[in-house]
Amino acid sequence: MTGISHDASASVPPAEIEDMALYHPRSWWTKYVFSQDAKVIAVQYAVTALSIGMVALVLSWLIRLQLGFPGLIEFIDVDRYYQIITMHGMIMVVYLLTALFLGGFGNYLIPLMVGARDMVFPYANMLSFWLYFVAVMLLVISFFVPGGPTGAGWTLYPPQAILSNTPGQQWGIMLMLVSLIIFIIGFTLGGLNYTVTVLQARARGMTLMRLPLTIWGIFVATVMALLAFPALFVAAVMMLFDKYLGTSFFMPTLVEMGEQLRYGGGSPILFQHLFWFFGHPEVYIVALPAFGIVSDLISTHARRNIFGYRMMVWAIVGIGVLSFVVWAHHMYVSGMNPYFGFFFATTTLIIAVPTAIKVYNWVLTLWRGDIHLNVPMLFALGFIVTFVNGGLSGLFLGNVVVDVPLSDTMFVVAHFHMVMGVAPILVIFGAIYHWYPKVTGRMLGDLLGKFHFWVTFVGAYLIFFPMHYLGLMGLPRRYFDTADIMIMPASAHTLNAFISIMAFIVGFAQITFVFNLVWSLRHGKPAGPNPWRATTLEWQTPQTPPAHGNWGDELPLVYRWAYDYSVPGAKQDFIPQNEPGTLTRGGTA
């Protein structure tokens, strides 16, 4: 056992929380509906999030119909258009991405990957899902109330958001704000679980530096979300006060349609600060779990340890901290003190360094690997392409002076769809193809999976890459009608139509994914416990799918880090984390 260091600073987590109340379901209702088992809650989160995500996908078709073929569908009038873009944005960012990464993958993977029996507060975990469900239902209801959902734009900027000529001012805006408030309360209950489970319920031997990067990503993202979501909470409550109690937190003196409103003195910029103080960390709340998951996908399918694990961990932590001091790069042209631009441009471009390091390390993991191009790996590669593309266009928007012409144009739309729309969703798909065998015991169909990947990846790139150039030309975002804009040549309208057609194709390809999910439940190839021959603990459970309590009689003991792939001298090209080690490891590296 040469080369084994005894670093006294790494503390051992408690083997097992002594009187952790393990919840036992007694009936069908408490097993599948009001379940307190994190694995069931994870599936509930995932199914709800994917369902509401499908609604948002259909909304995106309606947006593209209007932009590519204006006037073709009379149903999309200008009021509906703004309601559609608002709901599309809000659902995708908060109710799909945040909920799926943290509520879905977090719930499933945290207990299994750290070697716990369940989350530490199972009851709060159940409440978390049901509050999320109520929040989603409020959004759904808002489509059917008089006036429809709010059309304020997903950023909900006052004063417009609560004025009487905004679509959905009767019920929509109220339902939206209340839904967000409930979502945040629900998330907080879940987030406490994720955080404390990682801190307190790790198996014996699972030091922080042995955690898979998936857990690091989800953990840091959760901590960030816990601290950042209150900003949205406060903003939503204050906006409700402004709307229904007549306060003037955000509402200045203004004249709407020739009539002086009773508001006065409020600051619309204050709302923007609060919104983006949540909104920027939110980007990384979505990105960090994706970073973590993609690291594990690449490492597993390239049969090679993740390159520069320590740097990866430090980068995650560094990004997490830095992302709290960059929010105003969304506000360079908001009319805030322009001198802030110096500070925020600098912090924003600094954050590019740890992010770039992560990209290098993914790419260097492929170098001298043994690359198996399984479907999860394909999606991970798709992520690298779209994330690098979207991350680099972020350098345009973060550099304050380049942002000035591009801000509020289609360049921004293209950028954030690439970097926090397409890229994380490709990771979600990859992760589902990767972990579906553990959740259900069966593999997802390979051929359908490849078809799904190619159409989604190539199609999405063809949608969003050319879109940058519309913004470069000067086309503002959130335009219902782009006809007769002087700077737009006829060819730009053709490009818009092309983008729309690609969007329809990519959207329809998702049907194959849904079909695959359902069909493989019954007809998929039986997976066995560890189909990808992976090292992490979730693949070492005694049963597949893991039974209640995850580990049978004895908790796993962890002997090594999560990335012992292709270790020289080992019998196989992977060594599970819970396999006792007597390997001689030279002091290399």
């Binding site: 009021d79 900027y157 004063p159 417009q160 000529n165 905004t166 679509p167 003196t253 203004l254 004249v255 349609m257 006065g264 409020g266 619309p268 049969r303 340890n305 520069g308 042209v333 322009p338 001198y339 110096f342 441009a345 471009l349 770039a356 290098y360 790419v363 260097l364 492929l366 001298r368 690997g369 043994d370 690359i371 191009l373 394909l378 690298i384 392409v385 690098v388 593309n389 350098l395 345009f396 550099n399 002076v401 380049v402 000035v404 012409p405 801000s407 509020d408 890459f465 030309m473 000067g474 503002p476 959130r478 219902f480 782009t482 804009i485 002087m486 040549p489 292709s566 090209d573 590296a589």
Partner: protein, 263 residues
Amino acid sequence: MVIAVVLVLIVVGSVLFHFLSPWWFSPLASNWNYIDDTTVLTFWICGAVFSALLLFVAYCLFRFRHTEGRKAAYEPENKRLEGWLTAITAGGVIAMLAPGLLVWAQFVQVPPAATDVEVIGQQWLWSFRLPGADGQLGAADNRLVSPDNTLGVSPTDPAGQDDVLIEGGELLIPVGRPVRFLLRSIDVLHNFYVPEFRAKMDMIPGSVTYFWVTPTQPGTYEILCAELCGVGHSYMRGVVTVVTEEDYQAWLSGQATFASLSL
């Protein structure tokens, strides 16, 4: 294998698209060629990084694809390599940020010679106010807005009496003279954006924001609203025409002043 080819195609296609497609900045009509230069510099740096990374990935996929008997290398980290990559990245970031901040310093400092033009946004109309013979704009406040005084100009401020008001009409500005746009909103957020000038800024009810440009090319340009301002957002357009100094003076003297309008 297919994916390696596709990655190469993506690099080649994206680069070709960038150079060959007809979609690019609208022709510049102001002094902000620095902004364009910084953008182009950013394109070069980012394009190089994008191409290099993707080609490297494509090579890895080709060279290290799974074949019978292949075994991956075991190398947990390489401090030297990571250090170099970090340093190079930091260098690239500085190369983009430094010129960006220098140009921003110009952007936030309005030249003393700039003349003021007030732009007033309301749903969904652009109005303008220019200083009269005294060269000063009078005070204004949304609380003063009424059917007779739609822009909220203070009737008691003597400096405002000779202000030229243009409600919903075309704005003319002289070529070659720096202009400071003072931006005000009557109702919701708007954003005064002329793509050919490159600069833009939000307009906030209750405060006055600004930016400055020097128009360099005579011509007629469209004003677009670039901040969601309700259902009429995409219809909120206006026209600004850059003309010679003589034409400008001739046009200005023909416009109505606040005093004449409130008679």
